[in-house]
Assembly symmetry: C2
Homo-oligomer: 249 residues x 2
């Protein structure tokens, strides 16, 4: 796009001095990833809307030495649903997993006014804490459920929208599937946050059984596009981003 | 060269946090320019040889979080002389100016064992301080002289090697010349630290009158090549650097 920006990886040694370094070196902005998405917040000047509720940022923008945190993972999820024509309001939703991606997805669903949100996880403490944090902000009916064969069967049966936010099925173990595919019946909408491969085993099985699917590539592209817009003030070349992703895969 | 480096400009807001940011962000190294070449030293872990004597660095390298300062302006000057086949030992040398470039040149000449070094300047305090600093480290015969029509005439007449370290003649005022060209007689070696234009009026006049000349481009290329080597551990593609410079001019 002929703009004077370059995007590079910093191997962060010391988070506090790294953030002060962003200011002192006049860096326009950064993407933030694991393990700094939550711990970085205390060094920022501001945290924008849903990022504050989620308690995690994946983007920092430096505007005249004022650092503001954003969460474009959340934007990426909501844009992916919107572009797929999925209305979330009032829906019966299921999230598999309770880690960072699940957390972002859960806040997006509550924000959109879903009817019921069930979260299935094997991580009991993390699950409880996520449900507690959600209930601080939303009156949505929210259920945190311990992951068992039976709870998975029931939750999948009643879920209209199912989001996999576990790493199961990610490259290189692409034959894995977080749930038994035979539990999937037609007419659901299945979203996988994994983007390698673009179509996971879960999505392939869901499609075969007559459900709609949304690839993690959609979330990945849209969180990046939103970062690009925050950094540059310009609309991202989404077609080129998609192309670049395809070349890598 | 297909190596994972990118070289960008940082608009430094706060020097201390910028240097700590280099460590914290895992940046491999930086070039340092005016006004930070001297003031940055107090934040470094080490300063290498001649840079320590000069009291100025133009390069910082981050090796396992240890920051070392270098002065490749000095290397650039000595390499330019060496490549032009000029022997400095025992020579009668004249430097015009007493600023940062003059300072680097003066230390290089003393280090190389010149016979006499005269420095001409209109900045009396800066001149005295430079001469004093040089005398701390070298037994060389050094004269600091106030710039007058007469002192210039005498100094140019006896100088075998003349270095212009003033900005006079730099683009856009390329018709300017730091000294009256008629003072130049044949058989001298004239070096101009200015590299825009590559051949200044001073150099053109010196050549016309039968003196050898060294362009500031030589110093510029070799200080950059040495930085490249310090950052990457690889020899710089000097031919490509020269080509890139030509395209810009």
């Amino acid at each position: 796009m002929n703009i004077p920006f370059v995007y590079v990886a910093f191997d962060v040694v010391d988070l506090k001095n790294a953030v002060n370094g962003i200011r002192a070196l006049g860096i326009r902005g950064v993407s933030v990833t694991i393990p700094h998405k939550t711990s970085v917040i205390k060094y920022l000047d501001r945290v924008e809307g849903i990022a504050k509720k989620i308690g995690a940022v994946n983007t920092i923008v430096n505007e005249n030495n004022i650092l503001t945190g954003y969460n474009t993972d959340a934007t990426g999820i909501s844009t992916a649903f919107r572009e797929a024509g999925v209305k979330l309001r009032g829906k019966n939703c299921l999230i598999l997993g309770s880690g960072g991606a699940a957390r972002a997805a859960a806040f997006v669903l509550c924000e959109a006014g879903v009817g019921h949100l069930e979260i299935l996880s094997i991580e009991n403490a993390q699950l409880k804490s996520l449900v507690k944090d959600l209930k601080k902000h939303y009156n949505t009916r929210i259920t945190g459920t311990r992951w068992t064969d039976e709870s998975v069967r029931n939750a999948v049966a009643s879920g209209e929208i199912i989001i996999n936010a576990t790493p199961v099925g990610m490259w290189p173990k692409t034959d894995d599937c977080p749930i038994n595919p035979d539990l999937l019946t037609r007419g659901k909408m299945v979203f996988d946050v994994i983007y390698t491969p673009p179509i996971t085993r879960l999505l392939a099985e869901a499609k075969k059984r007559g459900s709609g699917i949304i690839s993690g590539v959609e979330m990945f592209v849209h969180q990046a596009a939103e970062q690009f817009r925050l950094f540059t003030g310009l609309d991202a070349p989404v077609k080129i981003i998609r192309k670049a992703l395809k070349y890598k895969q």
